[in-house]
């Protein structure tokens, strides 16, 4: 399970995760539950149907399958699988029950989504091996994850007996087993780190297994661009400023005189450096807070060009270098 605050790159990290695991020669299933087709866009394929489909191959012969979840289809699956009620779906649809079940009913939608994922986890091939070595879910955001995963407990409480009760309990057993881990994606920014801390607390209180913290879009990697003892104060005025303007002029960037092209670079470039060092400093503070969680932590650098397919493989490689969490 991969969760994270909105905008932290949850889907990207989940995809890199699936890829990193597949590179070890295994078969992974990447499940999307939010209906955004983010996986298809990341892997640069056409829209994914409600069907497990191979979307990438790792170097070691591993495979990544993807499934874009559709609650309505999952409901029909569910009715068919557990109650052999293929045609009843139509009747339910006619009275609006399907719409109800997949959009409004207390947690039914989440029950269907987690149920389907657990089914994939437990599925075996004819030879008795697990169909997938790992199932990675691009789960709802941190603010909703505990409720999402805990929904089966709630439903088991609501439906005190009967098939829903049993199914909900079975799903909960998988989710709470040591084979499941909830990984949290964060940025080295105040709000995402705060939300991650809250999320970890909530998951623990609900007895759900917390995995690793995956820190995305770290810009500290760029700190190597400036000399380690760089001090902007040297250049803000006087001779330092002049010398810097001259250095720019030496590099062919225009005149170093006051108001010359090279001189005009001094202020904006120093401002950029100040912003950068400030950012590196706050990242260091946030990193310390993340370290205080006491959890396994991985970092991914910010990709200047944004995440494309090549970037995705880069992130998967970074994850492999740091050791893929189990």
């Amino acid at each position: 399970m991969v969760t994270g605050k909105g905008g932290t790159g949850k889907t990207t990290v989940a995809a890199a995760f699936a890829l990193a695991l597949a590179e070890e020669g295994r078969r992974t299933l990447l499940v999307e539950v939010e209906g955004r087709q983010g996986i298809a866009q990341l892997f640069e394929t056409e829209q994914l149907p409600y069907e497990e489909r191979r979307i990438a191959v790792g170097p070691g012969g591993g495979e990544v399958y993807a499934l874009a979840m559709d609650p309505e289809q999952a409901l029909y699956d569910y009715l068919q699988m557990f109650y052999k009620l293929g045609s009843a779906g139509r009747v339910l649809r006619r009275v609006g029950a399907v719409d109800f079940a997949t959009t409004i009913a207390p947690g039914l939608r989440d029950v269907l989504l987690t149920g389907k994922a657990c089914e994939a986890v437990r599925r075996r091939t004819r030879s008795g091996e697990f169909r997938y070595d790992a199932v990675i879910m691009d789960a709802p955001p941190t603010g909703r994850i505990t409720r999402f995963l805990g929904v089966n407990d709630e439903v088991a409480g609501l439906a005190r007996v009967g098939p829903v009760h049993n199914q909900a309990q079975a799903v909960m057993r998988v989710i709470k087993s040591p084979e499941t881990a909830v990984h949290l994606v964060t940025l080295l920014e105040e709000m995402p780190v705060q939300e991650t801390a809250d999320g970890i607390g909530e998951l623990r209180r609900a007895g759900l297994p917390v995995g690793s913290v995956l820190v995305n879009m770290v810009s500290t990697a760029r700190s190597g661009l400036l000399p380690p003892d760089f001090d902007p104060a040297r250049y803000t005025a006087g001779a330092g400023r002049t010398a810097l303007a001259k250095a720019f002029a030496t590099a062919g960037l225009g005149g170093a005189r006051r108001g010359g092209k090279a001189d005009r670079l001094v202020e904006p470039l120093l401002r950029e450096a100040l912003e950068h060092t400030a950012r590196v400093a706050t990242e260091a503070e946030r990193r310390a807070e993340v370290a205080d969680f006491g959890l396994d932590t991985k970092e991914f650098e910010m990709l200047t060009e944004g995440v494309d397919l090549a970037g995705l493989y880069t992130l998967a490689e970074r994850l492999r270098e740091q050791g893929v969490p189990r």
Partner: protein
Amino acid sequence: MTLKQPPVLEMDPLIDDPETRIVVCCGSGGVGKTTSAAALGVRAAERGRKVVVLTIDPARRLAQSMGLTELDNTPRRVAGIDESLGGELHAMMLDMKRTFDEIVEAHADPERARAILDNPFYQSLSAGFAGTQEYMAMEKLGQLRGQEVWDLIVVDTPPSRSALDFLDAPNRLGSFLDGRLIRVLSAPARAGGRAGMRFVNLGMSGLSAVTGVLGKVLGTGLLKDVQTFAGAMDSMFGGFRQRAEATYRLLQAPGTAFVVVAAPERDALREAAYFVERLAADRMPLAGLVLNRVHGSGADGLGAERALAAAELLQEPADTSRAPADSGASGTEPDPPRTGGPAGKDGPTRTADTTRTADQERTADQERTADTTRTDPAVVEADAAGLLRLHAERMRVIARERRARDRFTALHPQVPVAEVPALPGDVHDLTGLREVGECLADQSPADPPPSDRSSSAAPTRPPTR
């Protein structure tokens, strides 16, 4: 570079206009929606309007900055706002369950209300599963608007998985509570099925098929809870759908302005484009797009490629390419402490050193406090190269953000855009919100060339070359 610029989203005229009564901020998660909503609220209040900001789930410190310490459903006046123009800012956090409970209490007699509030099915529904949050936000918006107390209501929408949930929620929940299913469900609780037949027109066998299926799937215990709930709700929620539709119409009214918020990234802008299309399809009035955390540069005339080339030129003496020619003198230069003197330096720098004497006298005071490495050409050039590399990175980020924005603009050239520059650090106080509001309103091209300012302030000096 010379791609057609989108029209500018003029924020002040929008929030100043007394006709503007509702501003809805929507967008995908993590793009600064709540911050934008709060900043607009602060700005509108300080420009003289009586504003209430309805937030759904603000970051803790942002909430504290507006004096919101707990979830409660009443707007509270925000302290620290400049009210000299007659404006006020109030803020509230939505308590979903409380809003739902209030509706029940307002529309049912106490006994029936209790029956509903105690129903386990209701408790789960109201505690916030998919859809309810959106619905309750719209319900609260309708209430606030109905009070006629506020000049302007700024709404921060829930971090929905998609725009669809947000716009569809009122109708969906409305049609459920007012619809056929609930009548089927509540039928046994009322007239033993005959009422259900009347509404649903399924015939007796169809009806029992539905309840049969539901019973089998849900288990009879849960089905009974649902049926009791539906029965209790049925009488009082006859007008539920009407309320939902009224809110929907309110959103379409001319006094409403939707502001789509995004970050200058591909994914966020893709969602934003989707929002724009969806709002148009539902004939919702779109004011424009707010693009948060846009990077800029005061030196954007210097592109990434050229900056990198210049950095390489400056670093050459420290590189192996030049070392053999200098007979090892520069061999020590790559060391981190950078003790290298002018020995390995080339002509122009040394000439510059000698011509600086006049300047050095003028700034002797500042010089005295500095260490000796300050004007060491090797250090300066390494620093200059570092600055240029950093700038090249910045320019790449800017180029990527522009591509993302241009893509959006190409699809929706008519949508006005307001850009907010990336501010260092998070916004978590009124000063920060004011600053964001300032940036939102001031859409003049950022960073005027500093040359005019600095040349007039600086002492005149002879050209150094």
